[in-house]
Every structure is written in C-alpha cells, then in structure tokens.
Amino acid sequence: MGYEGEIVAQLLPEFERLNPGIHVDLQQMPVLSAHEKLLTAYAGNSLPDVTPIGNTWIPEFASLNALEPLDDEIAATPGFDVDDFYPNVWDSGVIDGKAYAVPWYVETRLPFYRVDLLHEAGIDKPPTNWGEWRTAMAAVKRKVGSKRYAILLPLNEFEPLLNLAIHDPLLRDGGRYGNFRSAGFKRTLAFYKEIFDNDWAPKVANTAISNVWDEFGNGYYTFYINGPWNIAEFKKRLPASLSNSWMTMPLPGPDGPGASVAGGTSFVVFRTSRHKAAAWKLIAWLSTPAVQARFHGLTGDLPPRRSPWNIPRLANDPYARAYRIQLERAVPTPKVPEWERIATEMRLVGEQVANDRMSVDEAAAELDRRADRILEKRRWMLDQKPATGAQP
C-alpha cells in the first residue's frame, strides 16, 4: 500500500531469485482507498493472496472470516521468533488467541518538539508526565504570545486524543459497551479540554495548516504529536539552521510515561488464497531481521522486531530513540470491527469539547451512548453464538 508498495517492489526480485517457482504479482493500492477496495474485493470474491493491511482493520476482516490463521506456519518456520516482536504490536494481529497477522512495520505517535523554544521558555528537560507537560505548555504559551501556540492537535484527526486516552480501556465487557464514562477517560478529556481552554493549542483542523513542517519550523507550535515517518520529513524539510533545534520524546502520561497506540501495518493471508504456502514464504522472508533492516533503510519505517533495531543506523538515530522506548509501551486499540467508527465519534465529540459546546461529563455520556448504539449489532452477534468463538 502507498509508498511502501512502491518500495517493496525493489526487494521482491531478490525473493523471487531465492525462491524459484514463486512469482510475486505486485499490485499497488493508494492507502486512502485501500479499505474500500479490499471490502469490495471481499464482496466480489477477488481478494489477493497476501496484503499488508492497517492493524485496525484486522478485527474487521477476521470477523468477515476472510483471514487465514497463521499459527501453524509460524510454529513451522525456523528462526521466526515471535518473542522478538514488540509484544503489543504482535498482539494487534492476535484475535481470540489466533494469530492472523504478522506486523510489517510499526508506528506509534509521540511528540516532536522544538528544543530551542522550550529552552527559551525556561524548560530544559522534555516533560514526562501531564503535570510537567502542563507547566511546559503554559510556559511556551507565555513566551510565544497570542499568535502562536504550544501544541498542535488537529481537530479533524482522532489520533491525538486517542493516543492520550489509550492508557485506559475504552470499551468494556469484551467490547460490548463503551467505557468513556470511566474516571480515566474523563481525566484525559479534561486534559484535552484544558489544552484548548488555555489556548495552548489552536482550534483548527489540519486542513488549516497548509504545511505542518514549515509551521513547526516557524514555531507556530512547539509540540506536534505524530508518527515516525515525520522524522525523515522533518530532516528533509526543516532549514539547516534548525537541524539541532528539534527532537522526539516519549509520550507523557497522566502520572508518568504514557501509553500510545500500537499502529502500523501487518501482513495477512486471505482464506480464499490458492497460494498460501508461497504467501507465507513471502511474509516470512520480509519479516527476517536482515530484510526488515533493509526495508527501514529504504523507507524509514520502523521495524516491529527488536533485533533490527540494533543496526547502527537505527541504534544511533537520536530521533528514533524515543520511538524505541515508546514502542515498549504501545498498546493496540480495542479489537472490534466497529473501532474506527467509535474513534471517529470520539474525534467529533472531542471537537465539540474543544469548542466548548459540551462539558467533559456530557461528552463522556454522549460518547458512551454513541458507542453503545454502534456496538448494538455486535452485542446481538455475541449473544447469538456464545460458544463458537468465531467472532472476535
């Protein structure tokens, strides 16, 4: 998919050379329409053999019964060390105890920040919990004035709020009901609201920021929560004079280092595939530490296994260090097919809260109401066949 789809084409000839008799027919898909295309392909019974899919789609395709469990192949492949993977990243592909997916590359979100602006505001150490973060944001805001801000949390993205909130379970009773009225989520939402109430973050969508890298360079905001692909982008796009003025840091949590979302892309084999053995060979080869290290060199994507992180390129990259720490604390999103929709509702309600249209308590109750409505069918499904366990 996307950029990775173009890059992987460079690796495939070697796989074909090592495995005569297997010919990989690569079809590239734009990321934005991949989900629709795959669902349509499922309905039309024309799925490919193997596809990397977004981790949040795994429960959905598993509930469609479209995915092939991979446990036997994993056990039968020498050198395929499950324990070498980041446990929570690996867990994203495990549903009801069966492994349906093998992580290809990982992402999680954490703050990029401007060292120089933070220093000017009198803060010399990146914050490690929300209390320190509050102090830092208030100090930055005092320093930069009304036209600039401490942090960017685009209101049309659910990822910032979700990453702040993920340390608490967001659904309860096995994904039957929303858990947004919990004390933990309310605390997160209150923190989120506080950031906007104090004008630490502008109330804007990312469409209002024409170029996030330039604006980061301009000091329009000091903290920017985003994914690892932006390391390369910032290196490339920021002027040389700023090359020592920015860094990444682990995401602060309410009382110390915080959790974050274990996102990324994983390989799945579709049940309808007629070349499952060959498909698995390809996955296993692309998952070897050496190939993962090469893939990182080509794309900058972060490997899901720990051993490739020891190559000098990654081990010595100061910007990647925070991600390495953060990945140990990353947790998967709730594994229900409805999750993306619930996350979208969370964003919409979060936008209302940021704009002061709702209080934290109202928002929490509204989110539970919406989540419970969305999960109604799932509850019915779970009640229908309690014993089969085919559903996630």
């Binding site: 509930s63 969508a205 024409s210 929709r341 069918k377």
Partner: protein, 292 residues
C-alpha cells in the same frame, strides 16, 4: 401488427434498460433499507436482521441527520437562487450587444464547470487560507480582520456555497444564453417603442420568455444542489463541527465508510422523498404560473 404492439416493441429496449438499471436497484435499495445490512451480514447472510422501519425511525431521531438536513437545505435555499441569479446575470451580460470579447468571457465563465472539483478545491483552500490566503490579504487591505473561512463553523457553509456557485454557474449560463438568443428581437423593439426602459424590458420581456428555461434550470440546479457532496468532501471533510456535512455525505459515511448499507439506503430514500416533494412543488408552482 397492432399499432400498440409496435409501440411497445420499439419502446421495449429502453424499458428493459430502465427496469434493469433503475427500477431494480431502487427496489433492492428499498429492501435493504428495512434491514440492518452491514459488515456482519456481508460475512454471513444469516446475520441479517429485518428491522422494518427502525432505520427510518432511528434517522429521524438522530440529531446528526437533522443537522445534515439543515445544512443541505441551507445550501439549497441560498445556493440555488444565487447560482441562477449569477448565471442569468452573466448570460444577460454576454448577450448584450455592447459586450466585447464575448468568446473569451464565455469560455472563461464556463471553464470552472469543466475543471475537476478536487484540483479547484486545492486552489480555493489556499485562496481562503486564514493566514496566508489571498482573500484575507485583500480584506486586510481594506481593514477587515482575517476570517477563518473554512475553519469557523459559521463561515464554512457560506464559503462552500460560494465555491459551488462559482464552480457551477457557467453551465446554467450557457442554457440561459441559448434561451436569450431565441427571444425574437422585435419584442424588445416593440417594448422600446412603448417606452420600456432596460429594467422593464428585462422584467416583462426577457423573464417571461425565459420561463420554461428558468423552470428547467431551476429543477436541474435544485436536484443537483440537494446532492451536495464533492465540495465539502474535498474542502472540509464535513467539518468544522459538522457544519458542512450534507445528507449525501452522511449517506456516504454510513454506506461506504462504515458499511451500514441498510441505514445508508434509508438516508437515500428520505433524500429521494424530499427531492421529489420539492421538485413536484416547483412544477406545480410553475404550472399555476403557466410557465409550462
């Protein structure tokens, strides 16, 4: 062969096509709208439940549906008259004998219609950018504070309307231009001899003669504007605070983003009913006025 049979024979191919590609899907969609067809039902048809009118009732109780309906109606009520007025104005100007460079302007006004909405939207997003946009820069020259055109829930819809009108008025303009050219010149001559000024000529000659064209354009534009989708999709993604989310946008999200096809079909039918009612109302009004 009886004449009626011959008639049916000749009409048959068209009727078959219409039945196959219009009535059948409509009936299928109607059937879908009384079920809760979703991703689970796609996996196993046994997971499909018949829900009767629950989708419709649920929608009518959903504040978001009313909000999107309000947004759509606002877009139609403001956008359609504005669009027709601008088209008519442009057509009259282009038709005027005093006009120069008519070919150029005709092409220039029509150009937005044939450009792709996505490419144009990108340009407009820059023009209307809060801090770097040309529009706010122009306003700042005359001392007006920057307006957050696409980020302020009060301004987003007006901006979308402006964008849609600019994008679409050229099409109606061409139809009006054709209508204007078919008005006999001697009517104007007679009006001038009777002492009618420019406004009176427009009011009592041009408008009545354009009646049927106006009706056609009105219905086409209205049904087009009810189906507002592409503009907010590329400009604002329905935001901020869902102030530019239209009914069709809601349907798209329900159907293609979340795969609740039952619910999406219900939205489609509500919109269909609404459009039928409004268009019939317009036709009834025109018939009473004798425009048809």
């Amino acid at each position: 062969m009886k004449p009626s049979l011959a008639g049916w024979t000749f009409a048959a191919p068209a009727l078959v096509v219409i039945a196959l590609f219009f009535f059948l899907p409509v009936i299928a969609a109607l059937a879908l709208s009384v079920t809760d067809f979703d991703i689970y039902a796609l996996a196993d048809i046994g997971n499909l439940r018949f829900v009767a009118f629950d989708n419709y009732i649920g929608l009518l109780q959903n504040p978001l549906f009313w909000k999107t309906l309000g947004n759509t109606l606002c877009f139609v009520v403001v956008g359609v008259p504005l669009s027709i007025a601008v088209s008519l104005g442009a057509a009259v100007l282009l038709h005027s004998k005093l006009g120069r460079f008519k070919g150029f302007f005709r092409t220039a006004f029509f150009a937005p219609v044939v450009t792709t909405v996505v490419a144009v939207a990108v340009i407009w997003r820059y023009l209307f950018h809060t801090r770097y946009g040309l529009v706010n820069w122009g306003l700042s020259l005359v001392g007006i504070d920057a307006i957050d055109w696409l980020g302020d829930p009060h301004w987003a819809m007006p901006t979308i309307i402006l964008f849609a009108v600019w994008k679409n008025f050229g099409y109606n303009m061409i139809i009006f231009l054709a209508g204007l050219q078919s008005i006999p010149e001697d009517l104007y001559e007679a009006a001038r001899i009777d002492g009618a000024g420019l406004w009176k000529q427009f009011r009592h000659v041009t408008l009545p003669m354009l009646g049927p064209v106006l009706l056609l354009v009105g219905i086409l534009t209205m049904s087009g504007y009810f189906q507002l989708f592409a503009e907010p999709y590329v400009m604002t993604q329905g935001g901020p605070l869902e102030s530019t989310k239209s009914v069709l946008y809601l349907m798209y999200e329900e159907g293609f983003k979340w795969w609740n096809l039952g619910n999406a079909s219900a939205v489609a039918f509500l919109l269909f009913v609404l459009m039928t009612v409004v268009t019939s109302g317009l036709l009834w009004f025109a018939r009473r006025k004798g425009a048809e």
